[in-house]
């Protein structure tokens, strides 16, 4: 594993002496649905401030792993830590206690997630989508939340669409609102689940630009993607998964141009 220790250029956010501690640490993660084992022992580390890309064929378990990080999926084995804290459980001695729903919800506040199919709230305008969680969950007052939301919408280039309902926006615009919505909670980690897979090709670029901008600001990002160009340019680490295991990992430029493993080679030959 060739290590790139350089931090993304001068980000002011989330640089609180945590560069030693990994943002996400997975140790032997197992996950099955009934008798089907989807994750068969995943070990990996996402360092604070890096852009971590997960690639692999569909059904390889990369989305499932991503959903385990904010406990949308329960793991069946192994240990998963976010910012040093166990996900979904509390450890006392050698015993694990399941967290209550409210405790799980509290931890999710700090982890933003962007979905393949956007999942904007259709009964709310773009602005209402963005202020919903800060107001309802954090208790931020509406005026402040609205001001911050407008800044975020500006940042994703959609300040003029604040009053539009999701159905009145294109897919790319919806996804950028979804990114603004996740950022409104000031997360320390952002999860992207194939954020451009449901978009028309000409709309992909706008979303990737927003993500690139976010990466440059120093946000820790875990990105499940099929955009090899993005992974190569923006990614700091890359993992290739297949059949529920990590096949190959390292610097994206190395893995993508010079894959070592035969399965990685055959996958890349199909998508590149």
């Amino acid at each position: 594993m060739t290590d790139v220790t350089q931090q993304p250029s001068g980000g002011p956010a989330t640089q609180d002496a945590g560069s030693a501690r990994p943002m996400v640490k997975a140790e032997g993660i197992h996950k099955s649905y009934g008798s089907v084992e989807v994750l068969k022992g995943i070990d990996l580390e996402v360092r604070t401030g890096e852009v971590f890309c997960l690639i692999g064929p569909s059904g390889s378990g990369k989305s499932t792993f991503l959903r385990c990080i904010n406990h949308l999926e329960k793991i069946n084995g192994g240990r998963l830590y976010v910012d040093g804290e166990l996900v979904g459980y509390r450890q006392k001695g050698d015993k694990l206690y399941e967290l209550k729903d409210s405790e799980v919800a509290r931890k999710r506040r700090d982890i933003g997630m962007v979905f393949q199919r956007f999942n904007l709230f259709p009964h709310m305008t773009a602005l209402e989508n963005v202020i919903e969680a800060p107001v309802q969950v954090k208790g931020v007052n509406k005026g402040q939340a609205r001001e911050r939301a407008m800044q975020l919408l500006e940042r994703v280039g959609l300040a003029d669409k604040a009053g539009n309902y999701p159905t009145q926006l294109s897919g790319g615009q919806q996804q950028r609102v979804a990114i603004a919505r996740a950022l409104a909670m000031d997360p320390k980690l952002m999860l992207f689940d194939e954020p451009t897979s449901a978009l028309d090709p000409e709309l992909v670029g706008d979303v990737l630009d927003v993500m690139r901008d976010l990466a440059e600001s120093g946000m820790t990002m875990v990105v499940v993607t099929h955009e090899m160009g993005f992974a190569r340019e923006v990614g700091d680490s890359l993992v290739f998964m297949d059949g529920g295991v990590v096949v190959e990992s390292g610097n994206p430029r190395d893995v993508l141009t010079n894959p070592q493993h035969e399965r990685t080679q055959s996958f890349l030959s199909k998508v590149l």
Partner: protein, 313 residues
């Protein structure tokens, strides 16, 4: 009778030289429509004639139409409908959430409730509530309230419990269908933002479920309005009971039934109009432009020059 039409009826009538858009053609005739309209009008006339010839004192209807007792009954019927529906909707949402809960105890309780109240006739339920004094002689809420059951159980309370609790069982199924209709990704997105289960339901899932819940609920309201006529059996002075009483005293029983029917028809019509606007409200965000209201459509047709932007007829 030549009308501009945009469809062509084949090359039968070649009238060239017209402008590119203005086709003047004889429209297809629909003689069947005139025939069927004539038959329908004839039948209607026959029915009206038969009723007018019958041994019915029609004059009694306008005489009592705005009688104080009738108006009182109308208000009571409306009150009972609204309150029963409130109990039904709130109870229905609670039961639906209980049934969909992961907790096996709450979901079984909800299942049992729905099984019982949906499985027995509402008239029987009304009588049971009315006569529950046979089981509980007193109602005793410690220092707050104590009285005989028969005193406590007024006709209004009996009617409310009987109709409302029964309605909750039906509403539960409607609400459950509504909650299930909301895409799972919505709850996931809300959870990912750190929203609790109950807040997700209240802020995200239920508002979207309403679009599916409202139309059948409108149907339930109209059904409820008519079902309230059963409560005359437990001595509640609703429209039907008042009409019956007047009818017996003034020996105009059937006339008062017609009068009541007319009032029910007026009330259900008003509710239907309200339902239309409620559905429109909950369609926000599900369609790009809302359909025009009948008033807007009327304006658009009558005043074409001032047609508002974004409204398509």
């Amino acid at each position: 009778m030549t009308v501009d039409v945009s469809k062509t009826d084949g090359p039968a009538d070649p009238t060239p030289a017209a402008g590119p858009q203005a086709i003047k053609a004889i429209p297809v005739r629909h003689p069947g429509r005139y025939v069927s309209a004539a038959i329908a009008l004839g039948l209607l006339g026959a029915i009206i004639y038969a009723f007018a010839q019958g041994n019915i004192n029609w004059g009694a209807i306008p005489e009592y139409f705005f009688d104080d007792r009738i108006i009182d009954g109308v208000l009571n019927t409306l009150l009972l409908t609204v309150l029963s529906m409130v109990i039904g909707v709130v109870g229905g949402i609670v039961l639906a959430v209980m049934r969909l809960s992961k907790n096996p105890v709450t979901s079984s309780i909800a299942w049992f409730y729905i099984w019982f109240f949906r499985g027995t006739p509402v008239l029987v339920q009304l009588f049971v509530w009315f006569n529950l004094g046979l089981v509980f002689e007193y109602i005793n809420l410690g220092p707050i309230y104590k009285d005989y059951w028969s005193v406590f159980m007024t006709p209004l309370l009996t009617a409310l419990l009987g109709l409302g609790l029964n309605e909750a069982a039906y509403m539960a199924e409607i609400c459950r269908a509504g909650l299930l209709s909301v895409d799972e990704g919505q709850a996931e997105a809300a959870h990912a933002l750190g929203m609790s289960h109950s807040r997700t339901l209240r802020r995200i899932v239920i508002p979207q479920a309403m679009r599916v819940i409202v139309p059948p609920t409108g149907n339930e309201v109209i059904n409820m309005l008519k079902t309230t006529s059963l409560v005359s059996a437990v001595q509640f002075a609703d429209l039907f009971k008042q009409a019956q009483d007047i009818g017996q005293n003034a020996s105009a029983t059937v006339e008062m039934f017609f009068l009541a029917a007319a009032w029910y028809l007026i009330m259900t019509t008003l509710f239907s109009i309200g339902q239309y606007y409620l559905e429109r409200y909950y369609a926000r965000g599900s369609t790009r432009t809302l359909p025009p209201t009948p008033i807007q459509r009327f304006k658009a047709a009558v005043l074409p020059a001032r047609r508002p932007k974004g409204v398509t007829v």
